[in-house]
Assembly symmetry: C3
Homo-oligomer: 383 residues x 3
C-alpha cells in the first residue's frame, strides 16, 4: 500500500498488518495464462475482448500494473507486455504464491460452485496461502449435481435436502445466484411441496442442466434457510447473464422479512451499483449484511469512493470485506490491497478532518476487515 | 464546527452564524433516556439493537461522540459510557437546552403527527429553544383523529375537510407519509367522492386505526392540495415500514404534473438515496423543492458527500435545509451542525478551486439554509 | 482551464491542447438573446423561470459567470447583468466565435433534429468554428418529415427507408429519442411489417406530427440498425417530456442483446443520473458506449465528481466526450472546458496518488476525448 500523507501513520500500519477474513472468494487458476486468456479473466463480460481494444485499458488493468507488478519484481506501471512476460517466466505457482501471500488475508471462505475444474479447490488454496480455507456451497450447483446423478421429480426435494446436508457438513455458508438465474424479483414465499415436485418435473424434463426454474430457485433458498448456515446472495454487478435492474437488493425485501424469524444471516455480496440500497437494508434488518467485493478490484483507483459510499447508514457491525476473486491471483491480491488502501484513505480522512478518533478508525477497520465475518460465520470455532 | 484550512475564514464565520430555518423537524424527548432507549432512538430500525453490537458503532454514533460531547462539557470522541453518564448527570432539560441552543436554528417547523405524546410539542419547543416554532400537520394523523372521534363513511370527506381546516388554522404546512403507508406508486388522480366514501367504509370497518387505504391516502393528498399550504412528502430512507423501492420520488411524476396548476409547493423530504432524482424533479418543475434531511445526521462524516450530491442540477432556489430530527436533541443539533460543516466544506471547496466566488457561496448557503424556506412558507409573515 | 496544483503540469498542458471530438452536439443560436430567452435556454425545464428566482443561481449559471465571462473580456464571477450586457455589446456572432474557438473542439457531430430553424446548421457551424462538422440524423425527425410530405400507411416503411437513406448519405450517425417519446421500456423485438403499417395508419390518422407511437418508434430503431451507422440513444436527464424512471439505460438490455449480431455501435448519451448503469452496460457489451454529456455543463463545479463516476467499470475504449449543447454557445464552451478540467483533476488525482502513471492518464484522456469517437464514427475517413 502506497504511503499517503493524509493517513495517520499508526492507522496505516495497523491496516496494513490486519489479517483479513475474505468471506467470499473463489480459487485461483492453477495454470499459466495466455494474454487472451488473461484479458478474458479480468472482465465480467463473456464476449471476446474486441481486437480494437485491450482489457488492460481499464481501472482493473491499471491496478494490476500498479499493484501486482511490484509483487512480481517489476516497477509499478509496467506495460501489459512486460507484466505478462514476467508472469510467464515466474509460472503460475510462483505468481499465485507471491500474490496470495502478499495480500495478507488470514482466512478464506471459498465458494466452489462455478467452473470448479478450472481453479484450485479449498485444500489446494489452503496449501498455497498457508492460512485456513473453508467452504461456501452454492445451492444451485448442489441441485444440478442432484439432477445429474438421477432423481425423480417427486423425490427431488428429499434428495436435495440430503445431498445439501452431506455437501455442507463442514461448510461455513451457502450461496445463491438467483439474481442471475432469474432475478431478485421472485415470489418470496416458500413454495408448497406439490409445486416443488411439479417444478422439478419441468426442469428435469429439460435435462436438468442450468437451473433457472423460478419455483425451484425459491425452494433452494428456503431449503438453505432451513439448513441454517449464513446465506450469501449475489447482488448487483458481476455476471453477464444478469439483468442488472433485477439484481437490486431492494427487491429482496419480501424475502428478508419472511426469513427474519428463521434467524439466518443474509449476506448481500458485491452490490455495486446498489451498495447504498444494501446499506439501507443492513441498517433496518438485524440479519442483513453486505459487502462491496468484486467492485473494489474492478474500479481500481475509484475503489476509495465506493468504499466510502458503503460507510453511510449501515452500522459498522453489518459491513464485511470480500474479494469475490475468481481465477487470476491478481484479483485476490487487489481485492485485499485496494480495500486496505481505500479504508486507510477514507477512515484516515475522517480522522484528519477531526470527525473520528484514530481508535474508532482502528475499531471499524478491524470489525469490517475480519471481526464481523468471524462473528457471523463462527470462524475459529469448529464448523 | 471544526476549523478547516480549505474553507475561506469569512465564509466559515458566516455559515456558523447563519440562523437556519429547519423546515421539517419534530420535538425532542422531554425525559431522561436509558442506554437501551437512547440506542433505539439513534436508528431508523424498529428492531431491538442486537446484543452483539452497539448502535454507537455507526456514523451517527461517532458524530454524537464528536460533536455533542463538547456541548455537554466532554472532550470530543468520548466513549459511549462517558457520554451517557454525562447526559444523565445533566438531565434531559439541560441537555435539550444546550444542544438546541448550540444548533443555531432560528426558526422551526415542527411536524406533530408521530408519537406526539413522547416528545415536546410546538410551544414547549419554543420555550426551550427561544425561537419561533410553527406547526406542520400530518394529513394521515388528522384522518385517524377523525376516525377515532366517530364518523360515517359517507360523512368522512366533509368531516376530514372541516377538521383539517381547524387543525391547520395557524399551521405553515402539511405532510403526507403515503410513501410508507402505501408507496409513491399510487394512482395520481383525485378519487371521485363515491370512491372516497367507499374507501372510508372499508377502512372504518377495520377499526380506522393506521390509515393505509390507497384511495383515502390519495384523497388526503388532494384535500391537502386544496387546503393550499406547502405539502411535504416523506421520500426515500427513514421508516422501517418502508419499501424503499416504492419511495423513489420519480414515482411522483404523475401527481407532480397533475398538481402543477394548483400552485402548491411540493416539498420532497429526506430523499436519500434518491436525492439526485429529487434534484432532477426540482430542476424541471417550478413547484417542486427538496432536502437531504435525516440523512445528514445518519451519515455523519459522510454527510459532506451527500450535501455535495444535492448541489447538481437543481437551481439553488429549490433546495432547503431540514433535520427531520425526532427524540434525542442530539439529532436536532447534528442536523444543523453537520449541515453547516458540509456546506462550508463543499462550497468552500468550490471557492478554493476558483469555481465560485465567496459571494456566491454566501448567497447559496443563505438561500438554502433559511431564505428558501422563508419564501416558500411565508415565515415572518402571520400565518 | 484554471491551474491546479494537484495536476501534473505536463498532463495539464496536454489536456488543454487536446483537439476534442464532440460526438453529440447541436448548433448555436445565431441571434442575440434577451435575459428571459437566455435564462430559458440554460435550463432543461420548459416552464417559465419563476419571477422569484433567476436561473443564474445554479451550477450552470455560476459556471457561465466563471468560465465564459473571461472569454468575453470580463473578470471571472461577473454578475449576470454585467455578463449579459457584455454579451449584447459583442453580439451573437462574436460571442459564438469566441466561445466556440476557445473550446478547442476539433471535430463536431451535430444532431439536427430539434428546432433546427432556431440554430445554426452544420455548414454554418463549420464556418464559425473552422473545424470539420458532420451530421447525426434524428430518426423521429425523418419520420415526421415523411409524414409531412404525404405518405400512406402501407407505404410508410418503404418511404421511410428511402428518405432515411437520402438524409444520411453523408451522415456519421443516427439518433433516437424514444426515451422521451415513449420510454426505454419498449418491446425490443423488431415489429412485423403488418404491425408497422397498422401503427403508421394510427399515427397518420392523428395528423402525423409528434411521433410517439410505440410500434413505429421500435420500427425506426430497427430501420436505423439496418442503415448501419452508429445509433445514439438519449438516456437519462435532459428533456422535460421525460419520465426519468423510464429513461434508465438498464431498460435497453433486451434491445442491446437482440441488436448485438447486427454489429452497430450503440451510443448511450448523457446518462445522468444513471451513468453507472451505462458504464455497466459498456463493460458487458462490446457494442455499447456511453458519455456524460449535458450533465457536465449543468453540474458545473460538481462535474468533476460525475466524470469520476464514469471512470469505474467500463473499459476506457467505451467512454466518449460530448457536450449535447444546444443554443447558447456558452453550453458548447462549458461542455468542453469543464470536461477538460474534470479529466485533469480526476486523472491528475490518480497520478498524484500513485495509482496511474502520467502516460496512462494521457492515453485515457486522448481515447475518451477524441480517439474513441474517431474509431467508432470513422472520423477522418470519407463518410
Amino acid at each position: 500500500m502506497a504511503a499517503d500523507l493524509t493517513v495517520p501513520p499508526g492507522l496505516h500500519r495497523i491496516i496494513e498488518d490486519l489479517a483479513l477474513a475474505d468471506h467470499h472468494a473463489h480459487g485461483v487458476s492453477g495454470h499459466d495464462l495466455s494474454r487472451v486468456e488473461f484479458e478474458q479473466l479480468i472482465t465480467e463480460s463473456d464476449r471476446p475482448v474486441p481486437e480494437w481494444m485491450t482489457q488492460f485499458d481499464s481501472q482493473l488493468g491499471y491496478a494490476i500494473l500498479r499493484h501486482c507488478a511490484p509483487v512480481l519484481g517489476l516497477e509499478p506501471h509496467a506495460s501489459p507486455e512486460a507484466y505478462l512476460a514476467r508472469r510467464a517466466v515466474l509460472g503460475a505457482d510462483e505468481v499465485n504464491r507471491r500474490l496470495l501471500t502478499a495480500s495478507g488475508v488470514g482466512h478464506y471462505l471459498i465458494e466452489t460452485g462455478y467452473r470448479a475444474g478450472e481453479i484450485l479447490g479449498p485444500s489446494a488454496m489452503a496449501e498455497v496461502t498457508g492460512v485456513p480455507v473453508e467452504e461456501v456451497v452454492r445451492l444451485e450447483a448442489v441441485a444440478e449435481q442432484v439432477a445429474a446423478t438421477g432423481v425423480t421429480a417427486a423425490g427431488f426435494a428429499a434428495r436435495f435436502a440430503e445431498v445439501l446436508w452431506e455437501r455442507t457438513r463442514s461448510a461455513r455458508g451457502l450461496k445463491t445466484i438467483v439474481a442471475y438465474r432469474h432475478g431478485l424479483d421472485f415470489d418470496p414465499a416458500p413454495p408448497e411441496p406439490a409445486e416443488v415436485s411439479e417444478a422439478a418435473g419441468r426442469w428435469l424434463a429439460t435435462g436438468g442442466a442450468r437451473l433457472d426454474e423460478p419455483v425451484l430457485l425459491r425452494h433452494l433458498i428456503w431449503a438453505g434457510l432451513e439448513r441454517g448456515l449464513p446465506l450469501q446472495f449475489h447482488i448487483g454487478y458481476g455476471d453477464p447473464d444478469l439483468d442488472l435492474r433485477r439484481a437490486d437488493p431492494l427487491l429482496l425485501r419480501g424475502l428478508i422479512e419472511l426469513a427474519e424469524p428463521v434467524g439466518v444471516p443474509l449476506m448481500l455480496l458485491h452490490c455495486y451499483p446498489f451498495h447504498r440500497h444494501a446499506g439501507y437494508l443492513a441498517h433496518v434488518y438485524p440479519h442483513v449484511y453486505f459487502d462491496i467485493g468484486l467492485a473494489v478490484h474492478h474500479t481500481g483507483a475509484r475503489s476509495d469512493a465506493l468504499v466510502a459510499e458503503c460507510l453511510e447508514v449501515a452500522p459498522f457491525a453489518k459491513l464485511l470485506f470480500s474479494s469475490d476473486a475468481w481465477g487470476p491471483a491478481e484479483l485476490h491480491h487487489l481485492g485485499a490491497v485496494l480495500w486496505r488502501q481505500a479504508m486507510a484513505r477514507v477512515l484516515g480522512g475522517f480522522v484528519a478532518d477531526g470527525e473520528w478518533s484514530s481508535e474508532q478508525a482502528v475499531r471499524v477497520v478491524t470489525m469490517v476487515g475480519a471481526g464481523n465475518a468471524r462473528r457471523v460465520y463462527g470462524l475459529g470455532v469448529a464448523a
